[in-house]
């Protein structure tokens, strides 16, 4: 569905130097945004594409959707070259960028849906059938008749998802779809994404800084940093790699102070201490023995690392290598 081979994107930017000469004649510098990346995505897969700010996520998505032209390399999305066949590709993909809306703010969503029908040349009967099906699926029959500006953020996001699904796209590109949403709405959006994948077999390419999105929705994760792919793995496998690392949560019967930690401290609040340990190297009995000297332990629990911690660890290792 998506094939990328040695993809590169370089931007030329002006760098202003000090002084009058620097003001009038700024120096031009090349910045590598995407550095020789390659990967394939199969039909029906849900990919989480993550990385820190400026890692090259959005640039990659924009090259995959035809917004930006590549500097070099090969890209095929749904069998098409996004840069050369942008219009044809637009019929096969749906995009939702967290900060940008495709709905007309002052009109009810239903009016935008009819406009999108004309945009994608969908016959009226077929369009009405699709609207009815999607609106029913997401339970927004009444919401679509209210001007979008009067909707809550969560209702608007669901209306956005219906809007990008009207032309039956084969691939959905979702760039930060849950940005700025509260936990309840995030859950709704995640549920909607999973439903689209299950019911329509839509391939989903998702970027998010909220790693719970990736953990709850995606099958596979691609981690990008500094324009390069540093990990491309099944999420469960990735977590398995870090299986020996655990968060150990120790709860005392009263507040404890002056603890001399030999282990990596994650948090300490009143009577609760959380540390990160590699249980293949340190025995739990050893930890228990050491922590018992600070007070009476009433509970101790070893938890697998959340994905967020795994990815933070990967970033840290890459930074250290640099």
């Amino acid at each position: 569905m998506i094939e990328i081979q040695n993809l590169n994107k370089t931007f030329t930017k002006q760098v202003r130097k000090k002084g009058l000469k620097g003001f009038f004649f700024p120096e031009k510098k090349d910045f590598i945004a995407v550095n020789n990346i390659s990967f394939n995505v199969k039909k029906g897969e849900i990919i989480g594409f993550v990385g820190p700010n400026g890692a090259g996520k959005s640039t990659t998505i924009k090259m995959l959707t035809g917004i930006l032209h590549k500097t070099s390399g090969e890209v095929k999305v749904a069998g098409l070259d996004p840069a050369k066949e942008r219009k044809k590709l637009a019929y096969k993909i749906g995009c939702m960028f967290g900060q940008k809306s495709s709905l007309w703010m002052h009109l009810p969503a239903i009016d935008t849906y009819y406009l999108l029908g004309a945009m994608y040349d969908i016959p009226k009967d077929e369009l009405e059938r699709r609207i009815e099906k999607l609106v029913k699926q997401f339970g927004i029959e009444e919401i679509i008749k209210i001007p979008v500006r009067k909707l809550s953020l969560g209702q608007r996001m669901i209306c956005e998802i219906v809007a990008i699904m009207l032309h039956n796209p084969e691939i959905l590109f979702l760039d930060e779809p849950t940005i700025g949403l509260d936990i309840m709405v995030k859950e709704k959006v995640r549920k909607a994404i999973l439903e689209l994948n299950e019911k329509f077999g839509t391939t989903i390419f998702l970027t998010s800084h909220d790693l719970s999105d990736i953990e709850k929705v995606c099958d596979r994760i691609i981690i990008i940093d500094d324009g390069k792919i540093i990990k491309d793995e099944n999420i469960e496998e990735l977590k398995h790699e870090y299986l020996s690392e655990k968060f150990v949560e120790i709860i005392y019967d009263e507040n404890i102070e002056n603890v001399d930690f030999e282990y990596s401290l994650v948090s300490k609040e009143e009577n609760k201490v959380v540390i990160k340990v590699d249980v293949s190297k340190i025995k739990m009995s050893e930890i228990l023995e050491k922590f018992m000297k600070y007070g009476n332990i009433i509970d101790i629990e070893a938890l697998p690392l959340p994905l967020e911690e795994v990815i933070y660890d990967i970033y840290t290792r890459v930074e250290e290598k640099k």
Binding site: A90, H106, L107
Partner: protein, 266 residues
């Protein structure tokens, strides 16, 4: 090809209908804007009426009918561009803020998609005012139809120069003030005063970089007396302006670098 054109026209109509629906969503504001714009335009005509009253109805061969043409043809063009294709006015903002992304992701013609994305409600006042004046000044239905034809020609000129000037944002950054001066202070002024009052230097501009002669003054001459040569000249120059606008717009799409549209100060 024919199917694509049909689908594009269908899309343009639906998009304009959405804009009209927005106007109706704020009925009171819309009606007030239309009335204020008509009153604003009306003052200019009253002013000219007073001037002609003092000077016996004619100044250097210019009569009230010429002024009425001047406040009909270009005002219809101006109103139609801003009401139906108000998105052109946003082109520079879309370029700077990275909003073109949304349009690049959609399969319809980029220009018409952008152009019909916004509507300047007050411009409906221009459209109505120019049309009423056109009806008043026309001696026959054919006269009125010719006013509409020349207004469409003026619309194409205005839309082309707006695309050209506002596309410069991709190279120059913020061009809002440049565009404002070019469109409102120069083009609007040169098209709403009789050509006889302008000197040679200004006329040179009106024949070249600010095509007011072809967009308005030649059509007014044609309203008074039709001349095929002038008509062909107007059409040829109009096509040249369309091609320049099309070329520059295609360069914008090549040079456009997208963005992350987060509201920032400054």
């Amino acid at each position: 090809m024919l199917m694509e054109a049909k689908n594009t026209i269908n899309f343009i109509i639906k998009s304009i209908i959405c804009n009209i629906k927005i106007a109706l969503e704020y009925k009171k504001s819309f009606v007030m804007q239309v009335i204020f714009m008509m009153v604003n335009n009306g003052f200019f005509l009253i002013f000219w009426g007073v001037v002609f009253g003092i000077n016996g109805g004619n100044i250097n061969g210019i009569g009230m009918k010429d002024i009425m043409y001047l406040w009909s043809i270009p005002v219809i063009s101006w109103g139609a561009v801003h009401f139906f294709f108000g998105g052109i006015k946003e082109l520079n903002t879309y370029i700077i803020s990275g909003t073109l992304d949304t349009y690049l992701l959609q399969p319809k013609n980029m220009f018409f998609n952008i152009a019909t994305s916004k509507c300047d409600l007050a411009a409906c006042g221009d459209l109505v005012y120019g049309t009423i004046l056109g009806i008043i000044v026309s001696d026959s239905i054919l006269d009125f139809l010719m006013i509409i034809v020349y207004s469409i020609i003026g619309l194409i000129f205005l839309a082309s120069i707006m695309v050209i000037v506002r596309s410069l944002a991709v190279w120059l950054g913020d061009v809002e003030n440049i565009a404002h001066v070019y469109e409102q202070s120069l083009f609007a002024t040169f098209t709403t005063y009789p050509e006889a009052i302008f000197g040679k230097g200004i006329k040179f501009l009106m024949f070249t970089v600010i095509p007011a002669m072809y967009a308005v003054h030649f059509p007014i001459r044609l309203m008074e007396k039709f001349d095929l040569k002038i008509f062909i000249l107007v059409i040829v120059v109009m096509i040249i302006y369309i091609l320049i606008a099309k070329y520059i717009f295609s360069k914008v799409l090549e040079k456009y670098e997208s963005g992350n549209n987060i509201a920032m100060k400054g």
